[in-house]
Symmetry: C2
Subunit: 363 residues, 2 copies
Amino acid sequence: MSNPSLLILPGDGIGPEVMAEVRKIIDWFGAKRGLAFDVSEDLVGGSAYDVHGVPLADETMAKAQEADAVLLGAVGGPKYDDLDFSVKPERGLLRLRKEMDLFSNLRPAQCFDALADFSSLKRDIVAGLDIMIVRELTSGVYFGEPRGIFEEGNERVGINTQRYTESEIERVARSAFELAMRRNKKLCSMEKANVMESGILWREVVTRVGKDYPEVQLSHMYADNGAMQLVRAPKQFDVILTDNLFGDLLSDCAAMLTGSLGMLPSASLGAPMANGRPKALYEPVHGSAPDIAGQGKANPIACILSFAMALRYSFDQGAEADRLEAAIEQVLADGVRTGDLLAEEGVAPVSTAQMGDAIVAAL
Amino acid sequence: MSNPSLLILPGDGIGPEVMAEVRKIIDWFGAKRGLAFDVSEDLVGGSAYDVHGVPLADETMAKAQEADAVLLGAVGGPKYDDLDFSVKPERGLLRLRKEMDLFSNLRPAQCFDALADFSSLKRDIVAGLDIMIVRELTSGVYFGEPRGIFEEGNERVGINTQRYTESEIERVARSAFELAMRRNKKLCSMEKANVMESGILWREVVTRVGKDYPEVQLSHMYADNGAMQLVRAPKQFDVILTDNLFGDLLSDCAAMLTGSLGMLPSASLGAPMANGRPKALYEPVHGSAPDIAGQGKANPIACILSFAMALRYSFDQGAEADRLEAAIEQVLADGVRTGDLLAEEGVAPVSTAQMGDAIVAAL
Ligand SMILES: CC(C)[C@H](C(=O)O)[C@@H](O)C(=O)O
Ligand SMILES: CC(C)[C@H](C(=O)O)[C@@H](O)C(=O)O
């Protein structure tokens, strides 16, 4: 049997630097744990645009469809700000999500004990925080038609369409309930059913799916209240289920609560492939951070934890994922810190590569 | 000349209780400062539904159109959860906003010094916070067509439409720039121009309007990053301009940062009427809080501060608004607290009415 395949798309900004550290981890698992992957690398985002004139070449898209898992760094940067909408770096990422049909985006917001003081929130509000946001990722206003800027009378109008079918809501709801079953069996679904009909349908379908999971305590919340409650008392949540656009804002809000943005991974999962593995793309929650790109300052942990999620969700290697996460906690407990994790002036931060090396050493 | 008219719509839940305290304040200004208003009262939300079968009767709508200012308490409650979408309490509020064409919603997020410790955020992150969110209120996905739940093949689809014309963006942008000129001359506009064409048009029009305000330092931010930055370092902002839906989430998030939700007012302003005053509706940011309704526990300050905004924005009585705000600060400094403002157990909170009386006394 051949090794499982891993397609690596480092992307833009700090993407390539943090991905270089992930490669060290992958190599370690191949050498030391007999977990070998067929790794290939390709371009996405601005770096793809520079070469191909598009943020994702068709051949790359085809490779992603074949891969057992895709690992992505980050896309975007000021260099590409004035590009036409259709070729912006983000379109490469959105094309991957859409064509691979990665409808379920898992965004853990976890507060690492060693780092709780980095949060802008009071320690007791966030210490021990561990919530999972499940964001629908292939529909809603991100992809609904009609969309565009149109002439209307003597002015222009910008239009986007929020659109959810019952089956789209059902499949992502099901994935959220499954997750809740493996966690603390609490699910809070967020929409604006008081204002939007798409939210009414959302609430109705989620309620119906919930009947299949009687053990899960289901609640509903308007998304604006959800934003408030995340800030007020985030530990009231276990799993949060929401749509593409609300999920974009709410998951970023939740991520920032932890104070450890450079630490947060994500998984985007689709339907099972012929080999039983889900289509899957893993990426850090942080962006391309153009201001520090190329300086060896970036924190590679979010990207490494994204690989840990790949081990868990794509390769059924939960124990190895635990091993990797434990190594990271060890390194943090030892006080190894990249610049983003340092509060006091005068303490020297380690570089991106040094952090990667420390994690390999801890493994 | 007749007195300016004030239409009071107490609404549901704690609305009537907090509004009763506002009446005391209004009476005081009439008796002591020669600022008499012709006050009338009517129904909105669930309480209107109970009487008229609709959450806003046509006659009430007509009165609101004629009033020099409308003061609203809150709408909604569990009793009305199963009503049809078209007659839900919220529709009454949305009808007022839409038909009065109140396009500019001003939501100050201010952290009161005496209450900074109530925030879930660290004191130094929020103490002294004073930002103003300008939310577009009459368009976007709240009102765009097509909307509804439709049959499609053998399932249903929920659809809402995000829609902004250039002139809709321009007028709210102008109101935000005007406000910025009277504040710290910094404006941050938030959208998702990286994903939504309506956001591209938004950014373009705001940039163009900004040319008329060269003194204002204009920046743009994606709304998800905006949610993050609000949590990370809210004091970086002065005025934030955003659309109806993003504004709903972001303003609630910002409100919660202050830890003083029971303290935050809002103003919704439209075009000038024949008498030069803008069409205007004032309401607290908090909701109808059905859990404590009718118990005399609610904090009336947000609603009283909404009246202060009316004095300032509708009646050109900035000095009287200052006077009212100072009285409230005085009362807080004296340690008078409703239940929501009390941290320690054992200290007795004052009732809604006692808080109102204390403010009248401080005046
Ligand atoms: C880069 C951008 C297109 C993307 C999104 O809006 O989904 C990002 O913000 C995210 O949350 O992954
Ligand atoms: C009550 C509801 C319709 C309303 C809204 O969504 O605008 C509220 O959340 C608000 O922010 O004023």
